[in-house]
Amino acid sequence: MAPEGKRRWQADSNGAAGDAPDHKKMARRTGPPPTAAAPTVRNAYTAMFEGFRDHLDAHHDRRERIVKASRDITALSKKIIFALQRVRRIHPELPRDVDSEVTRRLGEIGRLLAGIAPEMQGINRGRYGRVLFGMEELLEALTFLHYLRHQVLLSPDEAAEQVAALCVEGRATKDTKDTKDTGDTGDGESQNDEDAPRIVPDDNDFLMGVFDLSGEMMRFATTSAALRGELASDGGDGADQSGQGRTIVGDMQELDSFFRMLPQRHDKSWKIKTQTLQTSVQKVERLGYDLRVRGSERPKGWMPDVPEAGEAGTP
């Protein structure tokens, strides 16, 4: 018994530094009476709590890994959104530099998702769902990308498919890199995509992401109006403003109606995001009003007359 007790105590001491002072105190107290057995801090419940410690440690470590991946996903998604804000018009094809940056960032996000996907299966998806806050940001980026290409809101099912595809591609890329790192090119792991673990966003992730999308649409509308003098839409360059084609103002209003018609929730984040959405809609509405009113004062493309330096006055 005694040797086992000693060994176990040493193991505990390595695991939890806080136990050492207790041991010293006990040693000091039991010094005077002659005791053959070594002092121990174990009691009837120590084994039970050691099991609990292992369990909680695994849980905390898993959570920490997901938090780290989530932060990186958030940062990468924001970079994608910044790149998309450099787009100047709604068009199926993005400018080449923006397109390549978006593709590269999505690849990195895919690898991060593939890294944590095995730990986010079954009941763990809900347990760490709130911790995976990067998913909201990713959905904001994906919905914004889809809107800039097609002027249509990405559906939850399509979003889930895209995120799942990111996991699969990320895993494939990750496995390739791992193989290269180990140098074991002969190892032929079967890339069975059907069995690859996936992470799918839930409805809350989607709705929060679309709330955030409204903010990006407001920014895009403001930038587009400032630089091109017209409301963003997918009409041709020569499209007139006489009711043909949908503009971003109508889209923002539709988004606002969409959220008002859904069954309302009473949590704090929903209220804050609803309020922010309505503020964004009003900003874009004022933008449309200003362009309509002030834009009608002069023909499109008109410039004030600038007399040439060398010429005499006009007749």
């Binding site: 009837a44 419940y45 709590f49 939850p156 109508g250 988004l255």
Partner: protein, 267 residues
């Protein structure tokens, strides 16, 4: 811009969630009522001498626990049809309180269903997480998505148990039962040592575990007062206490029990 099917789908899901929430809330309200009643019955322990637990206290406690168990099972049946972590925040606090009542009842010798092995109720028995699950008839710490008792809920209930026993130690002395106070002191300090093994993060569980040290301080104050006035129980009574406690500990399925720290609690 928005496909009408998207709206219809999200609206249907949201309305379904509201319906499930209402159903769960009704059951949780029943559980809350049962827990409050059980806590009320258990509060009589502070005015009941230990010798009268089997006759005056435990039957009512066991009946209250049986009501809790029925409600928890009904809640489990409904909750298992949905993702556990989607709604678990709604019931976790009340389930913790229910677990606490079961732990305290068993510590006092109650929860008759467990004592098939021995007819004699033993004071000082701590139910393990698995035993609590057996009392309620629900699984504990599973990896598939269904209703279960989480480890955090059990640990939180343990901290509540230390608080209640700290109060009981004082009232036991008032009723003239110094030996019970000594036993409580030893038990609370053992639990505190166990909690110190955990590597806790700064979450709600740590806040609860940090409170255990005040229970330790309280029971040590009680023992100090008894020792100072020479009111500690005699040595032969302490010997009996050790024997009973050893039996209780082995019943608690705790292996590799080291020597008891009786010297620390009896200066």
């Amino acid at each position: 811009m928005i496909n009408p099917r998207v709206f219809e789908s999200l609206k249907a899901k949201a309305e379904q969630d509201l319906a499930v929430r209402a159903q769960l809330d009704a059951l949780i309200e029943d559980l809350e009522r049962n827990v409050a009643y059980a806590q009320g019955v258990l509060s009589r322990v502070h005015s009941t001498p230990r010798a009268r637990y089997p006759a005056a206290l435990l039957p009512a406690v066991d009946a209250a626990v049986a009501d809790e168990v029925a409600t928890v099972r009904a809640l489990g049946d409904v909750a298992s049809a949905h993702p556990y972590y989607k709604f678990n925040q709604r019931w976790t606090r009340h389930l913790q309180d229910a677990i606490f009542t079961v732990l305290l009842a068993a510590w006092l010798g109650g929860v008759a269903a467990l004592d098939n092995e021995s007819t004699k109720p033993a004071v000082g028995r701590l139910l393990t997480l698995e035993e609590v699950g057996a009392v309620f008839g629900v699984p504990v710490e599973i990896d598939h998505d269904a209703f279960h008792i989480a480890l955090e809920e059990y640990l939180s209930a343990l901290t509540a148990l230390t608080d209640e026993l700290g109060r009981l130690a004082m009232n036991a002395v008032t009723l003239g039962d110094g030996e019970l106070a000594v036993r409580i002191s030893r038990f609370v300090k053992d639990l505190h040592a166990g909690f110190q093994l955990l590597n806790l993060k700064n979450d709600f569980l740590r806040k609860k575990v940090d409170g255990v040290k005040y229970a330790v301080k309280k029971v040590e104050g009680v023992i100090y007062d008894l020792a100072l006035r020479g009111l500690l129980p005699a040595a032969d009574t302490a010997a009996e206490t050790k024997d009973e406690e050893s039996a209780s500990k082995s019943a608690a399925a705790a292996s590799d029990a080291g020597p008891a720290d009786s010297k620390m609690s009896e200066p």
